[in-house]
């Protein structure tokens, strides 16, 4: 098994001019980038606009990305700057306290700089989180442990195999089946209201 960060592979391809590879990077991080921007910009349309601009800036500057940090760390920085610049351009004062990457995505609602979006958008977010939680709770134990060790604890397949006393191939299969089961629960939500504009998540 290779322990290869798929982002590095994608970034190399983007640097070589591969637009499809960049599209995959967008898909991997769009939800998180919009989530970060939404902490600063409450209007949903503005928030999406700035988040799109974040990816355009990343596209422009990716030739200078040397891989010293993870791709998402780099994009996160761009997102924070873009959101702040947007507020300054509108004559609004950006928050003085930045949110560190490690903390940015773990704020409880009371600590959020701004609660973004429309009530519908917030409802969708809560429904998705609830669906994921429920789906994980319903998983057979071996799938639940495997996906938790991977996504929450960040263990490699080899480490999970050791922890679960199972072959790596079994771990790989379990994680895949867990993702499939969770995906089936959230797909209807995204298909119905994924865009918030009547569009589909596909």
């Amino acid at each position: 098994m290779a322990d290869q960060d798929p982002d590095n592979e994608l970034v190399d391809r983007v640097k070589a001019g591969d637009r499809r590879a960049f599209d995959l990077l967008v898909r991997r991080y769009q939800h998180r980038v919009v989530g970060v921007v939404s902490r600063y910009i409450s209007d949903w349309a503005e928030c999406q606009d700035v988040a799109q601009e974040v990816f355009v800036r990343a596209w422009r500057a990716i030739g200078n990305f040397r891989g010293d940090s993870a791709f998402y760390t780099w994009v996160h920085r761009i997102a924070i700057n873009a959101a702040k610049n947007h507020l300054v351009a509108l004559g609004r004062r950006p928050p003085t306290d930045d949110v560190a990457l490690d903390d940015a995505e773990h704020f409880e609602s009371a600590m959020r700089m701004r609660d973004s979006a429309t009530p519908e958008r917030e409802l969708l977010r809560q429904e998705i989180e609830g669906a994921v939680t429920a789906a994980v709770a319903d998983l057979p134990e071996e799938l639940r442990i495997a996906i938790t060790l991977r996504e929450v604890d960040g263990l490699s397949y080899e480490e999970i195999a050791e922890a679960m006393d199972s072959p790596i191939g079994t771990v790989r299969s379990r994680i895949f089946r867990a993702r499939e089961a969770i995906d089936q629960r959230i797909r209807p939500l995204l298909d119905e209201r994924g865009d918030g504009r009547g569009g589909s998540m596909r």
Binding site: R13, H31, S38, G63, E105, I128, E151, G194
Partner: protein, 212 residues
């Protein structure tokens, strides 16, 4: 068949797919929209499981980004040689600036043999002011008498210019400048090369200890 690709995709997302499988999956991802959409959803699931703040967006977001990028020129690939080349260019620029600032451009007449009695100048004078005198150098360079520091050149000077034919003022300047430059490590890019040819009558001084 699709399940096989999806399982590969799951391993790829985790960075656990072998190199060959990755290449195969990359080709598959270029043409398979279902797989590409799955990447977005599974990434969303991962973020949810980690308790990260997410804001679900749909395919229109991805399309909007793509449309904006379409309007952009492709990113210019950064050639690997440009960084060292830029560094070399900066270094060359700094060296040229240093030469302009510290190098002697003009020189006032100085009596031959006056180097031993150099008096500190009141303040350093820039060469660009075209009034640099030997005395000025003494303020910034620890000049010593040529006769004490002279060394035999690594490459013997040819007999092209008879020493007697040189203007004594110019000669004195060259000797003092060479000594001062070597003493302060400002001898240029090849400090180990003695650029001043000495008269044949002076080889005895070359044997002095510490001579370069």
């Amino acid at each position: 068949m699709q399940d096989k690709h999806l399982e590969s995709l799951s391993a790829w997302i985790d960075g656990e797919l072998g190199r060959d499988e990755s290449r195969f999956l990359a080709r598959r991802l270029e043409s398979d929209g279902v797989l590409r959409d799955t990447v977005a959803r599974w990434s969303l699931v991962g973020a949810c499981l980690r308790g990260e703040r997410i804001a679900p967006v749909g395919v229109r977001f991805t399309e909007a980004v793509a449309a904006r990028i379409d309007a952009e020129a492709p990113p210019r690939p950064v050639a690997r040689w440009t960084r060292p080349a830029a560094g070399a260019a900066i270094a060359a620029g700094v060296a040229a600036l240093a030469l302009m600032v510290t190098g002697p451009v003009g020189e006032a007449p100085v009596p031959h043999g006056a180097s031993a009695a150099l008096a500190p100048a009141p303040a350093p004078v820039l060469a660009s002011q075209a009034s640099l005198r030997t005395e000025d150098l003494a303020a910034v360079l620890p000049l010593r008498q040529v006769s004490e520091t002279w060394a035999m050149p690594l490459v013997p000077a040819g007999p092209a210019v008879p020493v007697d034919a040189l203007d004594p003022t110019v000669e004195a300047y060259f000797l003092r400048h060479s000594a001062g430059a070597s003493a302060s490590a400002r001898a240029g890019f090849v400090p180990y090369v003695n650029l001043v040819a000495w008269p044949a009558a002076r080889p005895a001084a070359a044997a002095q200890p510490g001579a370069r």
